[in-house]
Amino acid sequence: MPVYRKPESIINTAGYCGGCGHGVIQRLIAESIEELGLQDHVIGCVDIACSFWSQDAMNFEFIAGPHGRCASVATGIKKVRPDATVYVHAGDGCSYVIGLAETMYAAIRDVPITMIVVNNGIFGMTGGQLNLATTLVGDKTLSSKAGRKVETMGHPVDMLKNIANCDVAFAARGALYDARHIDETKRFIKKGFENQMEKKGFSIIEVLSPCPTNWKLSPVEAMAKIKNENEKVFPVGVYVDRGGKD
């Protein structure tokens, strides 16, 4: 019988809304770091968005980069502190929209950091606007009140396919809508940190995560939406696992 134990690296509550996936992801990060024994030499990088709160919740050193620039900020850190475990916890607006260039070039440079991207299909911190990369066609947001229209807003994009074009160590997508998928997501995140320990290169783990507040759904309904809609556009699984190459 497993015993519930809070990771010691989580020392505070964060300001996440009820039913938000950020807290689960934060916990998976903490568990992975602790299971690998890395917690005494970690620098986290959060975005100026919902992941920001993680820096108050976790017992690590943190930097909150300019919105969208997390992959670059983490690159700078890793270059001068190569022995520290450096990770990014950022949203899909940061990583795939305003900071797409920064994310892609961290991948192209194959910087040995672990980047966790929260795909919740919306701009949460700013109150629920369209995310050009991840809002599904037809989904209503504050800036697409009639639903996302392809004619004017284009299609959502599976950015992991783009990243898979780069020579990176690891790229995978997980989800949080049931225990099995949470376990799988944890394995992906842990793999990302293992790769960094072994100096294997850039690892990116995207997580399909609910935003009940801005989706205007109950937490249970939000999980169902991910399973029935979002995962259809953004399939979970491993996109790149380069294996032993250094």
Partner: protein, 360 residues
């Protein structure tokens, strides 16, 4: 300082002096007329055990610098004109978090793309800029290759002393010219010597966060900290050179490339019987208001010599002189000022043919 001179460009002197100051992180993006800094770093940074990154753009370059500087490394980036505009976001973030860094702005002329040739119309973006929010950037304006080296070397100390961004404001003429330069002695920087940096501390240690100082200090304490820091920089760091102002009828005011021409003009004018003097700001923020206290009451006015369309430095001169003396312009826009042009202008001013300039 080395006993032997080297002949090098202003850009190269900046890059080499930065390396000798212990700068071990450079990220930037090419743009004329400062690309030699990036090129020099690409050749030499790794040899000194540092990190060179050619960024995908200015913003990413500065964001990488933000991360590295937050870890305590001595960091530099450089740009010009439109490229420097893109750096404003991170200058604001660096300022908010109190993270030192040295940024070079080699001014080129004009708006938008402008020209690749020298200009001095990025005075405002340098002295008033740095993105949103209330802060100041320490801005050092070299007028020779030697000063490119000396001021860059010292800029890192100043940046760390005040936990502030320091800008080297050169221009397309100063950064491209070759002169003799005596380089400073190499210095190794200890990136672990500060108590505010990110090192990745163990679980029982107090953790640092690189983010708005106000978030952790509270606004009242932060406001006081910022006000006192800005006041201290203003009081302590004004630098200038005064040249023959003691008996001057007209005092020229110029920095960077224009100040070199002005010195020649002062000498030449005095041979022709016209008593000119020169105040050369070395810091343009803080503006050397103290320099103007030494000018005798008998001076008939000041002449700002700048490569701009309307004067950008003029308002700083008016503040420094407390509006007590007339201010004239010798504004050359895209062209470098000439000795003849300055002397002719001053002759006309003294003859009453030129009206004082209205600062817009």
């Amino acid at each position: 300082m080395s006993a032997e001179y080297v002949l090098m460009k202003g850009n190269e002197a900046i890059a080499e002096a930065a390396l000798r100051a212990g700068c071990r992180f450079y990220a930037g993006y090419p743009i004329t007329p400062q690309s030699e800094i990036l090129e020099y770093m690409s050749v030499n940074m790794e040899k000194r055990g540092g990190v060179f990154i050619q960024g995908e753009n200015e913003i990413a370059s500065m964001s990488m610098l933000f991360g590295a500087a937050a870890c305590g490394a001595r960091c530099m980036s450089s740009s010009s004109g439109p490229g420097f505009d893109l750096k404003q976001e991170e200058i604001s973030y660096l300022s908010a978090a109190g993270i030192p860094a040295v940024i070079v702005n080699a001014m080129r002329y004009g708006l938008g793309d402008g020209e690749i040739t020298a200009g001095q119309d990025s005075y405002w973006v340098s002295t008033r800029g740095g993105g949103h929010g209330d802060k100041r950037i320490l801005v050092l304006a070299p007028a020779s290759v030697q000063e490119c080296a000396d001021l860059t070397y010292e800029a890192f100390d100043l940046a760390e002393k005040y936990r502030n961004v320091v800008e080297i404001l050169s221009d397309g003429a100063i950064c491209q010219m070759i002169e003799k330069c005596y380089l400073p002695e190499p210095h190794e920087h200890d990136m672990d010597k500060f108590d505010w940096t990110l090192t990745g501390k163990p679980r029982d240690a107090r953790k640092n966060k690189a983010y708005n100082l106000s978030y952790y200090m509270g606004y009242e304490a932060y406001d006081k900290y910022m006000r006192e820091k800005i006041e201290a920089m203003f009081e302590n760091e004004q630098r200038w050179e005064s040249f023959m102002v003691e008996d001057a009828e007209l005092v020229l005011v110029a920095y960077g490339i224009s100040s070199r021409v002005c010195r020649s003009a002062v000498r030449q004018a005095r041979k022709e019987g016209m008593k000119l003097g020169l105040i050369r700001p070395i810091t343009v923020w803080p503006y050397p208001r103290k320099a103007f206290k030494d000018v005798p009451e008998s001076v008939k006015g000041y002449v700002t010599v700048e490569m701009s369309i309307t004067s950008q430095m003029g308002e700083d001169i008016l503040l420094a002189t407390e509006f007590k003396k007339p201010l004239y312009g010798c504004l050359t826009s895209k062209e470098l000022p000439t000795v003849e042009g300055i002397i002719d202008r001053c002759r006309d001013i003294l003859a009453g043919k030129i009206k004082p300039m209205e600062v817009l």
